[in-house]
Amino acid sequence: MDWGVIASNLVHDTIVFSTALIFASLGGLYSERSGVINIALEGMMIIGAFTGAVITFLFQDSATSMAPWIGFMAAAIAGALFALPHAVASITFKADQTVSGVALNFLAAGLAVYLTKIIFNGAGQTTTLTSVFSKWEIPLLSDIPYLGHAIFEAYPTSFLAFIVVFFTWFLLFKTAFGLRLRAVGEHPRAADTVGISVKKMRYTAVMISGALAAMGGATISLTTTSNFSHNTVSGQGFIAIAALIFGKWHPAGAMGAALFFGIAQAIKSLVQVYGLTKYVPTEFIFMLPYVLTILVMAGLVGRSSAPAALGKPYETGSR
């Protein structure tokens, strides 16, 4: 075995599997920075994976290679809409944000499979898509030995994810909008006093959150799995939340954490490719991402720095 090739493949696969986590944890970042807990990332990813697959399926004969892009955009819109009930419940009706999020997770899981069965004549999964994203190779750079395959040959969604990380950082820390968004998450009373609408900011943030998480879900169904089924997302929304916490609610931190968690899935896939399952039981390889998440979370003693008003509904006129 050539270790250079293995390392190159590992980095390559890590980027592939991290992409969905980067989108979703950035999604969580918008919502939580504005003060709304979003445990519904999982459900929003499911809606995204489902919408992306179905819309791509509908367009793949007419729009061919553009079809996954249409599916991807449709997923973002569906995700934003699906986030709306969570916003209504937690912002307008001051519901328990965790419970509301959990309800949306179940709703997404049920609804997506229900609709899949209706659209695909009772089958629990969509047919395998003929048109999905194919990898882009950056000219010249992708010819570099090892490094080229590792970093400069990736799905367009991966490149997009890194752009969104930069964009989010810029938006949050360099613009008035970002300052307002952070303000309503840290000190909504002060923000309200200077004339920022807490409700409007939080609604916006939660809907952006839904759109991004759904893009993460669509990434999975339109790159790695090429279809949608009940276990397409399988807990990645929660790993994205862990990445957000591990990354201290900062875009670059969340991205770093998402890449770290992506390694676990890359290892999972490489172990199967290289036939190492005779040394390690498959079940333990499948467990890896979840075990790693717990270990990392447990290692973060008292170092989390959540937005101050996270999870607290804002009452006009309260102290």
Binding site: A89, S90, L104, G110, G235, A298
Partner: protein, 356 residues
């Protein structure tokens, strides 16, 4: 403000009832959107459940695990914890019961109770991992217990594949007859529906929940920690130990649920391809039941009927069974956002006052 309080104390039953109605309405809309007839479907659901002795017995079978997982979630809720990991604790309870049931050879009066106890303790320990991480490391129990669910699923499959599943099969060997808790004579009365002692244990567990939570010092401390950890700490209670204890007891309930599913219903453990879902439904059961033992039993009956009746709507009206998942999720949503429900409660109360 006083009026709002009155709505949720005197009339507290109205909120769950309206949440259920709204949930069924969401389901009806989803069916209309899918081109199905909701009235036909809901009628089929009721007919399925009450149509024959066998189906009625099987509905009781379906209700039983929901009481256990509902109690698990409700117990944790009472102590300020959100145990979304009842699913995993249920699975680990299954594994422990299968292990004891298959490997040991004991007289029935020891074997069955020992297998249930093993399930209970295993589920409790599995739950207390999330409790420990919350107490000692400040990790959000929602995330850890979700991760523990997935770990439980794969661990269970590994244990089964490595020790109990004969080559080329998808399920373990049968547990010994001495560990089985099926009630043969009762099952025969219900045309061989799988009825078992687990149902009775579930009711006993609900009483145990009530006694420990409201009649013991332990329960007082657990509730105090749930209501205000800082005040409890100040009053000299060990908050961390109570968090672990709460998750252990919560896991006990779910673990017994898993054990009685193996010993009473299947008598073997299958390789799991996805989460069994009882733990998730337990959340709905606990919330709709207001986190009280009697409420949990009523909630479990409702969701047991819905889940089992789902097969009826598939058969008669052609509606995919996942529709019921949509209904249950909507009910959880409306209970969480009871502000929305209150809009519907107000006119009902006014009407009542007008009548007086």
């Amino acid at each position: 403000m006083n009026k709002a309080i009155a709505v949720f104390t005197k009339e507290s039953f109205l909120v769950p009832v309206i949440a259920i109605i709204l949930g069924l309405l969401v389901g009806a809309i989803a069916m209309l959107a899918g081109g199905f007839n909701p009235i036909l479907a809901y009628t089929a659901l009721v007919e399925k459940v009450f149509g024959s002795a066998y189906n009625f017995g099987e509905t009781i079978r379906q209700i039983t695990p929901l009481i256990f997982t509902g109690l698990a979630v409700a117990f944790a809720f009472r102590t300020g914890l959100f145990n979304i990991g009842a699913e995993g604790q249920f699975i680990i309870g299954m594994v422990a019961a299968t292990t004891v049931g298959v490997t040991l050879d004991l007289p029935a009066f020891i074997h069955a109770p020992l297998a249930i106890l093993a399930g209970a303790v295993a589920g409790g320990l599995w739950g207390s991992v999330a409790g420990y991480l919350k107490a000692k490391r400040g990790v959000n129990e929602v995330i850890t217990s979700i991760m523990m669910n997935w770990i439980a699923l794969y661990l269970a499959n590994w244990v089964m594949n490595s020790f109990f599943v004969p080559k080329g099969q998808q399920r373990s060997e049968m547990v010994s007859d001495s560990a089985i808790i099926t009630i043969t004579w009762l099952s025969q009365m219900f045309d061989n529906a799988r009825l078992h002692w687990g149902t009775l244990i579930a009711v006993v567990a609900a009483i145990f929940f009530y006694v420990i939570m409201w009649k013991t010092k332990t329960g007082y401390e657990l509730r105090a920690v749930g209501l205000n950890p800082h005040a409890s700490e100040y009053a000299g209670m060990n908050v961390n130990r109570n968090v672990v204890k709460a998750m252990f007891i919560s896991g006990l309930f779910a673990g017994i649920g898993g054990a009685s599913e193996i010993l009473g219903v299947f008598h073997y453990q299958a390789i799991l391809t996805s989460q069994p879902g009882y733990g998730f439904d337990g959340i709905a059961v606990a919330l709709i039941g207001g986190n009280t033992p009697i409420g949990v039993i009523l909630g479990a009956i409702l969701f047991g009927i819905l889940s089992f009746g789902a097969a009826g709507i598939k058969f008669t009206a052609g509606v995919p069974v996942e529709l019921i998942r949509v209904v249950i999720a909507s009910v959880i949503f409306f209970v969480a956002a009871h502000g929305i429900v209150k809009i519907f409660v107000k006119p009902i109360l006014k009407k009542k006052e007008g009548g007086n």
